[in-house]
């Protein structure tokens, strides 16, 4: 792989118009990635689902070259109906369009950020890979006191022009004081057997609100990895909702630093898996100061040959008194070949805190099925109704009613 990756790297560098300094920076990330390779099960964070093995098994050798100087055609059929929205369109990892036509243009700034790589603590070679290969990094800044009128949908799409087996993309967001952004990640894959690596960095200033919904619904055999780093200032709120159901492999990682008082973070997730799917959600919430709050609810429904994992970590600094932290993970195993893994972790250094976690897994309750069948439903209907109720619980946590309805439609949940 190492030869291939270097070869592809220099080919890409040639097509990009970037400075020598940026090239050097990219080279250093590539070097770091080659040293460490893909993460594997020997690393604690990758214990349950070993990405290096999964890539080997599902894709084989990766290749990295795409000509990012050539534009791709945008297929309008992928757009979400019934919801007016702003758009950012990625095709094969290249930004094709940024469209904020519903907004006051003076309130949003879009800057080319390449070369200014964000700095945060991580031990993750996939972030190095991302930094080495992303062709363009934009920073989207929402100005003070501005709330976007319409949600922003980021389309992640691939088409048959794709040459590489690996796509890296990255975006930075900054929400200034008292601003508000609703962000939907919408995955639409027309090609398979690709490894998609996404890195977002959010900087939330005082009183700002971020709502991020990640919707991976359509069945495809791509492998995906997404990392969200969220820095939060006083009184800011972040809400992350993850629907993880489409890809063969999807690991969503959320790292949230609650740096300001009265800031809060919410993470809700649905993993609805079937046939050979392996998905994971890993969250780290760092409560750094007093009076911060976090809430996590993750539910899995696991069909034949599927595997889900949840690794949640709540860290409470010794200064972070009056922390309120909660995490709950539940799983329904539908088949004897399904598997659920969890590691809900608490690391607490302050005494005046309220932290708890719970985890439960098992099969559908036979008594409930019996109850429904005795009222005239057949076995399949009863099962579906119970699963529907189980998952609806998570969707109901969404605070934005417009998007809640959209997601209910996408997931096919009835009230």
């Amino acid at each position: 792989m190492n030869e291939q990756i270097q070869l592809d790297f220099y080919k890409i560098i040639k097509t990009l118009k970037i400075s020598e300094k940026e090239i050097q920076l990219k080279k250093s990330f590539l070097k770091k990635f080659i040293e460490n390779g893909f993460p594997n099960r020997k690393q604690e964070d990758w214990k349950f689902l070993d990405i290096s093995q999964i890539i080997k098994k599902n894709i084989g050798e990766l290749s990295f070259f795409n000509d990012y100087s050539l534009p791709n055609k945008i297929d309008p059929s992928i757009f979400v109906d019934g919801l007016e929205h702003n758009k950012i369109i990625f095709i094969n990892g290249r930004i094709e369009k940024i469209d904020f036509s519903y907004e006051d243009q003076s309130q949003i700034e879009i800057n080319d950020e390449i070369g200014k790589n964000i700095k945060f603590d991580y031990e993750n070679s996939l972030i190095d890979l991302n930094n080495a290969f992303t062709n363009k990094v934009y920073k989207i800044l929402v100005k003070k006191n501005y709330s976007l009128k319409k949600p922003l949908i980021i389309y992640h799409s691939t088409n048959n022009k794709i040459k590489s087996k690996n796509v890296n993309l990255s975006l930075n967001f900054e929400l200034e004081e008292n601003s508000h952004l609703r962000l939907i990640d919408y995955f639409n894959d027309n090609t398979g057997k690709n490894f998609v690596n996404i890195l977002y960095n959010f900087n939330l200033k005082k009183y700002s609100i971020l709502k991020n919904y990640k919707l991976d619904k359509f069945r495809n055999n791509n492998l995906k990895y997404s990392f969200n780093n969220i820095e939060q200032d006083d009184n800011s709120i972040s809400e992350t909702f993850i629907l993880s159901a489409g890809s063969d492999y999807f690991k969503n990682e959320v790292n949230c630093n609650l740096n300001g008082e009265f800031s809060s973070a919410f993470i809700n997730g649905i993993l609805s898996l079937n046939e050979n799917q392996q998905h994971e959600i890993r969250s780290t919430i760092n409560h750094q100061v007093e009076n911060t709050k976090s809430y996590q609810l993750i539910k899995s429904v696991l069909g034949k040959n599927s595997k889900s994992a949840y690794q949640g970590r709540i860290f409470v600094n010794s200064k972070a008194q009056k922390t309120d932290g909660y995490q709950l993970s539940k799983a329904i195993l539908l088949d004897e070949t399904s598997e659920f893994n969890a590691k809900p972790e608490l690391e607490i250094y302050a005494d005046d805190v309220k932290c708890s976690h719970g985890s439960a897994s098992g099969s559908l309750n036979e008594n409930s099925i019996f109850y429904l069948m005795s009222r005239g439903l057949n076995y399949q209907q009863s099962k579906e109704l119970l699963i529907n109720g189980f998952l609806l619980d998570v969707v109901e946590k969404i605070t934005d009613s417009e998007i809640k309805n959209l997601i209910k439609n996408i997931v096919g949940l009835k009230e």
């Binding site: 604690e44 010794s318 200064k319 008194q321 799983a331 195993l333 539908l334 088949d335 004897e336 070949t337 399904s338 598997e339 659920f340 893994n341 969890a342 590691k343 809900p344 972790e345 608490l346 690391e347 607490i348 250094y349 302050a350 005494d351 005046d352 805190v353 309220k354 932290c355 708890s356 976690h357 719970g358 985890s359 439960a360 897994s361 098992g362 099969s363």
Partner: protein, 480 residues
């Protein structure tokens, strides 16, 4: 010259040139094949036992010391340790209680330990009238009547080689992790218990009744076998603070329960935790594992961990037999600069297996405390269930409490439920107790005892009362 001295005489000429003196036989410092042969030789072990040790040593050379645990410690130089040293002679031991640390005596008083026992615990030559040997002999007679074997590991290797050979290393194989393998290579002594078929052991077995229990040293090895339909309850350790000059303790405990058998293993650990500034103290790195080999068998671990500078242990159950049950009840208290990383592993392999984990952790002062556990339900373990509850109590913001549970469910018929909370003692509760005339320390003691009640209830009567007092004493100085 008695026989022991004769042995030593012989060893003087040992070709590897080990120094021997009558007062204190020591293998030379360091860990190598010769030292292992020396240990085996001095204990007159048969060839198969030596082979077992050497096999472990061979494996040990390939292993690295684990480093994933939370409490870090300075690197141990394994070549700088003595792996065999005969017990101290009477000359080095204190002559009377007056020579002991007054702090230690005060603790004894609080725990209500009788004078003779205090003396025994510190190895003071005890007046013949009060000698516990006679008590022990009475018990031994009773046990023999039922066919129960309860002796030291060395004795078992000599007298019951078949049993030892059959079961030793079956639960903790020589190929296990670093410390377990180290123990397999160099273990010196420990307890051996065999309960024959259908026998309910008439009394709580305790290391207390085994003569020379104080001489087991730092690498203890215990093997308990409960044959079909039998029952035994085993107590390890005691509430009194124990001091030891060895810093590293790496014991191995193996339990085997055959069809319908039940083993209850209770531990109260109160080794020297180091002083208030975290200097000194014992490293307690113990491997404890039970195998529910037969159908309907049950293994239950209860532990009260208050001592040691670092406690790092996970008493585990492998639920292999159908319908077998594993239980784990734990109280771990850390104060000052103590550190603990403890929990359990429940590995469900058989059908209809059940396990229950109740863990209570209390940390105070500058201490750090981690619950780390694994519940693994195998795809063949149909209709199994687990319930886990781990609660932590924090006192002050200089200490830490962590929970790291691993949950693996590979069977859709099975249920796993896990709950954990972390909190502090509420001001309202404290106020209520103080209003009724308790001083703050007593109030904390009372509340903590309530917090630990579920676990304390599991302890045998003899232990429970003392353990309750111990809980209070361990937290002294942490309030206010």
């Amino acid at each position: 010259m008695d026989t022991r001295e004769k042995d030593i005489e012989k060893l003087k000429d040992y070709k590897y040139g080990f120094t021997t003196d009558i007062e204190n036989i020591k293998a030379p410092k360091g860990l190598n094949e010769d030292v292992i042969k020396f240990i085996s030789n001095i204990k007159k072990e048969p060839q198969w036992m030596l082979d077992f040790r050497l096999k472990a040593y061979k494996r040990l050379k390939l292993l690295k010391e684990p480093n994933w645990q939370k409490p870090k410690y300075p690197k141990i130089d394994y070549q700088d340790l003595y792996y065999y040293s005969a017990p101290k002679s009477m000359k080095d031991k204190p002559k009377s209680l007056d020579e002991l640390d007054p702090k230690l005596l005060e603790t004894y008083k609080k725990l209500g330990i009788p004078l003779q026992e205090q003396a025994r615990l510190n190895g003071i030559a005890v007046d013949a009238v009060f000698d516990s040997v006679s008590v022990a002999t009475t018990f031994k007679g009773e046990l023999t009547k039922h066919g129960i074997i309860f002796c030291s590991m060395s004795e078992a290797i000599q007298k019951h080689p078949d049993l030892v050979k059959k079961y030793l290393g079956t639960v903790i194989p020589v190929t296990d992790h670093f410390f377990a393998t180290l123990n397999s290579a160099v273990f010196t002594d420990g307890s051996f218990v065999y309960i024959p078929e259908g026998v309910k052991c008439p009394m709580e077995l305790s290391t207390y009744f085994r003569i020379n229990a104080s001489q087991t040293g730092q690498f203890e090895r215990t093997l308990i076998i409960a044959d079909k339909g039998s029952y035994v309850s085993y107590l390890e350790g005691c509430t009194a603070p124990m001091r030891d000059e060895n810093q590293l303790h790496a014991a191995n405990v193996e339990l085997i329960a055959l069809d319908d058998a039940e083993i209850k293993y209770s531990t109260v650990q109160n080794w020297y935790p180091g002083d208030e500034n975290g200097k000194g103290g014992i490293y307690n790195f113990v491997t404890k594992r039970g195998l529910c080999k037969g159908k309907n068998s049950k293994i239950s671990w209860t532990q009260v961990e208050t001592g040691s500078a670092i406690t790092w242990k996970y008493p585990s159950c492998i639920l292999k037999g159908d319908n077998s049950i594993g239980e784990f009840y734990s109280i771990a208290i850390t104060n000052n600069h103590q550190k603990a990383d403890t929990g359990t592993k429940m590995i469900h392999l058989g059908k209809n297996t059940k396990s229950k984990i109740i863990s209570k952790g209390i940390s105070a002062g500058f201490s750090d405390m981690t619950y780390r556990g694994l519940v693994d339900i195998n795809s063949k373990a149909k209709n199994s269930s687990n319930y886990t509850q781990c609660d932590s109590l924090l006192m002050g913001n200089k200490c830490g409490a962590h929970t790291v549970p691993y949950i693996k469910n590979k069977n859709f018929d099975s249920n796993i439920a896990h709950e954990a909370t972390t909190s502090k003692i509420s001001e309202a509760q404290l106020h209520y107790c103080q209003q009724r005339g308790l001083n703050p320390e007593e109030a904390v003691g009372l509340i903590v005892n309530g917090f630990c009640k579920e676990v304390l209830q599991q302890l045998p009567m003899e232990f429970a009362v003392e353990a309750q007092k111990l809980v209070g004493i361990s937290l002294e100085g942490s309030v206010g």
